[in-house]
């Protein structure tokens, strides 16, 4: 489904702030894979997701989704394959537009937009139904501006938006990091539900090792712009946090990484 081949990305090349964010990352995800991504600050997790989403182009390597080479496609064109939820709850929705308008925008992801109505009558009922299933009390606030919602509500809405038009690939970039623990757990649970219901191929970046182990069928850890650990299947199911830490210090060849990971 997703095939990343040897991608490299350097920011601020040739300056004192030069940062090799991705150093030859390769990864293949199969249909229906739910892969969690962990790593310390600056390990390249978000950079990898942004490279896939096409926020900027990579320096070298190639990315293909469902057999289509998207390496040269701009962000808005890749959107037809990809659903995204961001770390910042502000980022995934249009705050000055209504809940229903946001949903209608998302329902048209990847389709050409013409002079047909932005929202149809049939859609309104459909969204009402969907929001009721989310159980956030949003179904009666369809015409409220999204700017009035809480962070958790926005992330839940963004999740729903990402799945409205079934994406080939769902990218969750620390989408619970800005939420309080209770809300985070709820949004995570909702993510699991949406992924399972739609059989979505998913990549989820998280800072929380427990979450990374508890969710999905595959786990990768990044360090210094590379994937250093890749476990899946039975092996991942049995994984514990201490084991993961031990594995990591062995691969990275240092203990300092321990603290970095735990502290971050």
């Amino acid at each position: 489904m997703l095939e990343i081949k040897e991608i490299w990305k350097t920011f601020n090349a040739g300056t004192v702030n030069e940062k090799q964010a991705l150093r030859g990352v390769s990864l293949t995800l199969h249909d229906g894979d739910f892969c969690t991504v962990i790593g310390g600050n600056g390990a390249g997790k978000s950079t990898m997701l942004n490279a896939v989403a096409g926020v900027w182009s990579v320096d070298a390597g190639s990315i293909s989704i469902g057999g289509t080479d998207v390496t040269r496609l701009p962000e808005f064109k890749r959107a037809q394959f990809i659903g995204r939820v961001f770390q910042d709850p502000m980022m995934g929705t249009a705050p000055t537009m209504q809940i229903i308008e946001n949903l209608a925008l998302a329902a048209r992801r990847g389709r050409s937009r013409g002079l047909g109505w932005g929202i149809t009558k049939a859609e309104k009922e459909r969204y009402h139904e969907m929001l009721r299933n989310l159980d956030l009390g949003l179904e009666d606030r369809l015409t409220s501006k999204v700017g009035l919602l809480s962070g958790g509500q926005r992330q839940a809405l963004t999740l729903l938006m990402a799945s409205l038009q079934k994406p080939r690939l769902l990218l969750l970039d620390e989408h619970t990091a800005a939420l309080d623990p209770k809300t985070a757990a709820k949004v995570l649970e909702l993510s699991d539900r949406i992924v399972a219901e739609n059989h979505l191929t998913t990549m989820m970046v998280t800072h929380n090792m427990k979450d990374a182990i508890a969710h999905g069928n595959r786990l990768i850890m990044m360090y210094n712009g590379r994937i250093v650990i890749d476990v899946s299947g039975e092996e991942k199911k049995k994984l514990t946090v201490p084991q993961l830490l031990e594995l990591f210090s062995k691969v990275s060849g240092s203990d300092e990484a321990d603290d970095k990971l735990l502290l971050s």
Binding site: M97, E101, R108, W117
Partner: protein
């Protein structure tokens, strides 16, 4: 006082004409979240194109359409400078505006003023709006439906209906999303470069139409007629918002509020002039008023405290626990 009342129909007519420009400014400033300074130039472009075509015997509709298209072309240039060349929107607008000064002069055959000859009744009759019609209708020599307030009012309503429809379409929603959150828009597959350029084109098309109507009203196109247009547009947008945001929630009504804002602006200007202010101070006055109105929301957010009742701590036993800990 009588002077002021006699001048009112003229002020309202002018306000309505500038209101069309202000609706254009609303599209960029409020919907697209871009301060587009192209308008100071494209306003005159519309006027120049219209007057040159019309005085050379062109049909009214053709001349107006050409003016709108010329304005859209100006918006296209700003849009491409911004999206394709990566120039900040405000600077892109300034560049286009500066360049347009020469272009506008060239359109007007290198003359600073080109008049429409309205001394012959035939020519005058062909015009849609003219300040002469204000008096003619008052005197009864022309039917009421030739009054500029009526004619421009119909233009305004038609434009509002058209925009109301457009911003409800998929494309219109994409444009609004771009202004609301460009990141989100791209993640939803919207080509934000395209929507920005489109918004700038629509906006400047309206601005040029407004310029063409004002040139008719004054029976002349003049190279400096667009100077400060952006400030007038912003004033209208802000007056409309301050005055009607509590009453008008519907998008169409918000656009109407902008048009009313422009009318109020011209009535205030007329009142100030009637009080004896030297007309040369008008631009300073406009700048001060707009500056003040732009600053007020910022000050409000920074210095005012919302009036919230803070419950007395001891009274709140139901939630308890905290003060025992």
């Amino acid at each position: 006082m009588m002077d002021f009342i006699n001048a009112l129909p003229g002020a309202v007519s002018q306000g309505l004409i500038w209101g069309i420009m202000a609706i254009g400014v609303y599209i960029t400033y409020k919907i697209l979240d871009v301060a587009d300074l192209t308008v100071d130039g494209s306003f005159c472009t519309g006027a120049a194109i219209f007057v040159m075509l019309f005085t050379n015997g062109s049909n009214m509709a053709v001349a107006l359409l050409a003016a709108v298209l010329a304005g859209m072309a100006a918006g296209l240039v700003t849009g491409l400078l911004h999206t394709l060349c990566g120039i900040p929107a405000i600077l892109a607008g300034i560049l286009t505006q500066l360049g347009l000064w020469s272009v506008n002069l060239a359109i007007m055959d290198m003359k600073a003023t080109v008049a429409i000859n309205v001394t012959t009744p035939e020519m005058l009759d062909k015009l849609l709006v003219s300040l002469r019609f204000v008096q003619d209708v008052a005197k009864g020599t022309r039917p009421f439906y030739r009054h500029p307030i009526f004619v421009v009012g119909i233009f305004t309503i038609a434009i509002i209906l058209l925009l109301y429809w457009f911003f409800g379409t998929e494309l219109g929603c994409a444009l609004r999303a771009t202004g609301s959150n460009a990141n989100m828009a791209r993640a939803q597959g919207i080509n934000t470069d395209f929507t920005k350029v489109l918004g700038l084109m629509i906006s400047n098309g309206l601005v040029a139409l407004s310029g063409a109507l004002l040139a008719q009203y004054n029976s002349a196109s003049e190279i400096n007629m667009g100077r400060g247009a952006i400030v007038i547009g912003l004033a209208a947008v802000i007056i409309g918002e301050v005055g009607f945001s509590k009453v008008f929630h519907n998008f169409g009504l918000k656009l109407l509020a902008v048009s009313i804002g422009a009318i109020l602006y011209y009535i205030v200007i007329q009142a100030v002039l009637a009080m004896g202010l030297n007309a040369n101070y008008l631009k300073l006055l406009s700048a001060c008023v707009v500056g003040l109105f732009l600053a007020i929301p910022y000050w409000k957010g920074k210095y005012s405290r919302p009036r919230v009742k803070i419950p007395a701590q001891t009274a709140d036993k139901s939630k308890g626990g905290n003060h025992n800990a």
